[in-house]
């Protein structure tokens, strides 16, 4: 296990030499109209001695000692044995509930209740089951609508959102000036092209009657 670092195809070819055969990754293994018969394929495995350089190797090798085995373990070990079902949380705000439940859960999140047009879309989405693709597409649509609502809400509260700042332009400038310049150039080119097209259409002579 001495050659344990490889990064590219050349390294890999060298590594595979330990199997007693080589692989030319850029050439097919067959020639002409015949194909070579593959050798008997066997996986080569390291011995325990070869793994001794890895600190902690095999510490969780015994399956029965693994914390995730068995997958389902009753009674649970890490929560109180006598724990009672939580009492119902008082509900003071609108919480949308999956139709795949008989009622609201004992505990629930209360932040950002549905509101506005996006809230109406979310309520419509929650009338459908989780198996219904339309539910999720409507929720994605509501998310996009709420982005616009968020900007309007900012402006209504006298706050002009610093959208470039929210997108991390400061760090882009600090660590990726070339990338930022490229994005600005592309955006500028698109803007200029759009402006040119609009301008041209507006001023184009009408030669239909010539």
């Amino acid at each position: 296990m001495e050659n344990r670092t490889m990064e590219n195809r050349t390294d890999m070819q060298q590594h595979d030499d330990h199997q007693g055969h080589t692989h030319d990754l850029d050439q097919p293994c067959h020639h002409g109209h015949t194909t070579e018969v593959q050798p008997q394929l066997r996986a080569v495995r390291p011995t325990r001695d070869q793994m001794s350089h890895i600190k902690g190797w095999g510490a969780d090798l015994e399956r029965e000692n693994r914390p995730g085995v068995p997958m389902e373990r009753t009674p649970p070990r890490y929560t109180p044995a006598d724990i009672a079902e939580p009492s119902p949380q008082p509900q003071n705000v609108e919480v949308l509930v999956s139709t795949e439940r008989p009622g609201i859960t004992q505990l629930f999140g209360t932040v950002q209740p549905p509101s506005g047009v996006s809230g109406m879309i979310r309520r419509a989405a929650f009338s459908m089951t989780e198996s219904d693709i339309r539910r999720w597409l409507l929720l994605l649509a509501a998310d996009r609508v709420q982005v616009v609502e968020g900007v309007v809400d900012d402006l209504a509260h006298g706050h002009v959102p610093n959208i470039l700042g929210e997108m991390g332009i400061k760090s882009e400038w600090q660590y990726n000036k070339a990338g930022l310049a490229k994005k600005v150039a592309i955006a500028g080119a698109i803007g200029a092209a759009a402006y040119f097209l609009l301008k041209r259409d507006k001023n184009a002579p009408d030669d239909r009657w010539d």
Binding site: P46, D60, T105, G109, M167
Partner: protein
Amino acid sequence: MLAMNYRGPYRVRAQHKPDPVIEHPGDAIVRVTRSCICGSDLHLYHGMVPDTRVGHTFGHEFIGIVEDVGSGVQKLKVGDRVLVPFNIFCGSCFFCQKELYGNCHNVNAQATAVGAIYGYSHTAGGYDGGQAEYVRVPMADVGPTIIPEDIVDDDAVLLTDALPTGYQAAEMGSIKEGDTVVVFGAGPVGIFAAKSAWLFGAGRVIVVDELEYRLEFVKRYAQCEVVNFKDVGDMALHIKKMTDWLGADVCIDCVGGDAAGSVAQTVTGRLLKMQAGAATVLHWCINSVRKGGNVSIVGVYGPTFNAVPIGNALNKGITMRMNQASVKRHLPRLIEHIRAGHIDPKQIITHRIPLEEVSDAYHIFSSKLDNCIKPILIPPRAHEVRAVTASVAK
């Protein structure tokens, strides 16, 4: 309080919002001292998770100090230093009673297919997360764990998600002695999955990514082989050539729906949202693993559907296991591994950023700037020592 505030895809900011309050007798309020940005937060940040509402505060990897407790809390007390597993769970439901703490049925009203996760959209319960000065922690006697004295904050915060998820990813691979394990993704979870694979007795660990700086890190940190998929023609063929033409015994997806590597998947999954994220890595896992092998999935995908070669999985007799990590069940063993020096989680932290600069923190992590692997956010009151803490200590 100051908190991260989602404004739309690729737009977040630090903004003041009302402090959280006790809403149930079992609640606690925790003052956050460390909060990570997780790779799965980027799925939210990129607008890929349905019902991610404007104003939501992300953050499911955090530790802090208990500031207040509800009348029903018996074990935690004000001043306790706690790590909070990313799962919110009741401990008593059908699933919690089976130690499936990531699948609790009593805490997410809004979906049955998902447990509840702090700061992970309303699809995951609609709880604000820990990228804030304070956070509401339901079921305080069940989820939070008091951090042992000898575990430092930077290790503790990685015990809330990244390390247990990587460890469970390896565990779900049912690794046997000498197995060849391929981990797709050299982000924090992939790094920990690679490291954990050795603990389970792997004979060979190969990590695949496209970012050289991350591959360099994981090669050194986890003593594994690495492959840059940009240097490879076909991923499955390459893995087969590396593994005696048989395929890997275990393949692990630590990427999820934000994967690069396939134009068709990227366009349909990430740009057009025609599927729940790009299923590139699922393809690679199914097609790279050997017949009868195991595929483990912890990369996050959305709730709709993905185009995957399930027929190949059937014909190859693959066992596929996946879940959100059941963090609490792994904690005792992982703390032992940290104490034994088998794993040093804090080494993966590359950036410590004030919460006030959360916009840049997300952009740096999302765009992989400045060789970023794991950023943690430090709230303004992280180091505040309150009088109440001192009184409790007496």
